[in-house]
């Protein structure tokens, strides 16, 4: 099974490399239009052809990788940070803090997430921060649950009890005992979260409530190419494959590193 994981890791490494270094090697701008070259097929200078506005599909894909990865990192970072802090607080403090945080989690998970996301993303006509909020508004719940349950389980252990009796602060206990235990779970959640966020981001782009149009974004590229897909299927397949390979990479990497296959 570790062969799958290796495959996932290399996919992720490839996408990260493309996102970091790619834009320096592609000469054509992802937004420069040239109607005289609209819908040009693949060639040596344009490996993936040009879109209906004559923009380079290859260049848009590569710049799109940067947009997607960066946004996903911000969203997952925000979710993980917020969730861990709130979850740790709920786990250690119990009482009111615990009740408030966990009811909030229950409430958000009882919510039809997509409705909330569409409304939030439609907010301000889809500014970047509204988009980040829409993508991570329910994302922190998983992390909060994880942290809280882990703390509760650890607090029952004899050695942690002993530490408490010795007068160690909650912060020290969290750093000393929880941090080591939480890492493998956190890695799995964050990896899956990155994949899911990229998937949702592309879906928002596809629906027209994602990043604003001239920005190269994989989902929006597909929407723009839909009317031409019968004659130019590559315009749809190329960004579709980009989303798929990125998400597949993150999923393989995190599923295999966490629990064995299920």
């Amino acid at each position: 099974m570790s062969l799958w994981r290796l495959f996932g890791a290399s996919l992720v490494a490839l996408v990260v490399l493309v996102a970091l270094a790619g834009p320096f090697f592609v000469e054509r701008s992802p937004t420069r239009q040239d109607l005289s070259r609209a819908l040009g097929g693949p060639s040596w200078s344009e490996p993936l052809g040009t879109d209906p506005l004559g923009r380079s599909v290859f260049s848009r894909l590569i710049h799109g990788a940067r947009e997607s990865l960066l946004l996903a990192l911000v969203c997952v970072g925000l979710s993980a940070g917020t969730g861990m802090v709130l979850g740790l607080a709920a786990g250690f403090k119990r009482g009111l803090v615990d009740a408030v945080v966990m009811r909030l989690v229950d409430g958000l998970l009882a919510f039809p997430g997509i409705l909330l996301a569409v409304v939030v993303a439609g907010w301000m006509g889809g500014g970047r921060w509204a988009l980040i909020l829409a993508l991570s508004i329910t994302g922190w719940c998983d992390y909060a649950r994880l942290a809280r349950n882990l703390v509760r389980r650890l607090l029952a252990e004899d050695y942690v009890q002993a530490g408490r009796l010795l007068g160690f602060s909650d912060f020290f206990l969290a750093r000393k005992y929880v941090a080591g235990q939480v890492w493998p779970h956190l890695r799995t959640l964050a990896g899956l979260g990155l994949g899911r966020t990229i998937l949702n981001l592309s879906a928002f782009g596809f629906l027209g409530i994602g990043l604003k149009p001239p920005t190269p974004e994989w989902g929006a590229m597909i929407t723009q190419a839909l009317p031409y897909m019968t004659d130019h299927p590559l315009l749809v397949i190329a960004p579709g494959a980009a989303v798929f390979l990125t998400v597949f990479g993150f999923n393989l990497l995190s599923i295999e590193s966490g629990r064995p296959h299920d």
């Binding site: 799958w4 919510f111 409705l115 409304v119 301000m124 592309s202 019968t230 989303v243 597949f248 296959h261």
Partner: protein
């Protein structure tokens, strides 16, 4: 039955609370939007040409958008408890009848998708679960991960390109003939089956290894009776729970798939309503979806109690 009544009452109140919460949050978000609500509505109603100031102020007067937000909210709430969801700001038609039409379309699509996904996932999951760790199981784990990673709209586009454009088996978009249902439902079904086949596989693998199956075997029961009498029922409880969860999340996929295939369901309706700031429509849809969410969850709980009475005992002791 005695313990069902309080459980159902609690569910009912919970449902009302969630539905109210969802629609109130939506109301808050929509009215807190920067920009002129009346202008947005006028744009949606009279086309993209910039409407004149008179038109906008007419819309504002007519729809009473000039009142304070709190007044608008209280008004909406009092109308809603009298089963009056109001009229769409854009089309002027009653929200309730629009919702009924679109909800029915989504039910048809979601139902077809669920049936198709079960037809795919049940044999697939059982086959993998009977021999966990074998070649087919490992292959199916990889295939499931791959299918989960494909965005719904990309899968839909691929299906259109292959089955509608190239081989012309099914129509690509529309909603008038039954054939129109196939591609959108299949798109949703593949996404659902990609996850549920793993849940079925794990349930089957666990039941197969369990003590009661070994016992039945030692007792000398024929394997058909073991599977039918002990296997299916025990494996079903986690699967039903999961399918209920999936149904609730089916809505996520529905928004994308309906917009790709031009299927006039709730997902289509919601997106359009958000784009044109059609407040009463969003409110109504939010109420409906919140209620459906809770209903589905309650139904799943009841079915699981029926399938596995041990759960009821556990809950009673809590």
């Amino acid at each position: 039955m005695g313990r069902l009544i309080p459980a159902l009452t609690r569910r009912l109140f919970q449902g009302l609370f969630v539905a109210w919460g969802v629609s109130t949050v939506c109301f808050g978000l929509m009215t807190a939007l920067p920009g002129d609500l009346a202008l947005r509505v006028a744009l949606a109603r009279y086309g993209e040409d910039l409407p004149s100031r008179e038109v906008v102020s007419h819309v504002r007067k007519q729809e009473r958008l000039d009142r304070p937000v709190a007044v608008q909210y209280v008004q909406w709430l009092t109308h809603t408890v009298q089963w009056d969801l109001g009229r769409s700001l854009v089309s002027g038609r009653p929200v309730a009848s629009e919702l009924r039409f679109h909800f029915r379309k989504t039910l048809v699509l979601g139902g077809a998708a669920l049936v198709m996904s079960l037809a795919l996932a049940v044999p697939w999951g059982i086959w993998a679960g009977l021999r966990p760790g074998a070649g087919f199981d490992r292959f199916s784990a990889g295939l499931s991960s791959a299918l989960v990673s494909i965005p719904g709209f990309v899968l839909g586009v691929l299906l259109i390109l292959a089955l509608a454009v190239r081989w012309k088996w099914f129509p690509a978009a529309g909603f008038t003939r039954p054939g129109h249902l196939v591609l959108p439902a299949l798109t949703l079904a593949v996404g659902l089956a990609a996850v549920s086949n793993r849940v079925i596989r794990t349930a089957v693998a666990e039941v197969k290894e369990s003590f009661f199956i070994t016992f039945a075997r030692i007792k000398g029961l024929p394997s058909r009776r073991i599977v039918v009498g002990h296997g299916i029922r025990n494996a079903a409880a986690p699967v039903v729970t999961f399918i209920g969860l999936q149904l609730a999340h089916l809505l996520d996929g529905v928004v994308v798939v309906e917009n790709l295939f031009d299927w006039p369901g709730l997902g289509h309706l919601i997106l359009e309503a958000v784009m044109s700031r059609d407040l009463p429509m969003i409110q109504g849809a939010a109420l409906l979806i919140g209620a459906v969410y809770v209903l589905v969850n309650a139904a799943v709980d009841l079915i699981c109690l029926e399938l596995d009475p041990r759960q009821a005992m556990r809950e009673a002791t809590l």
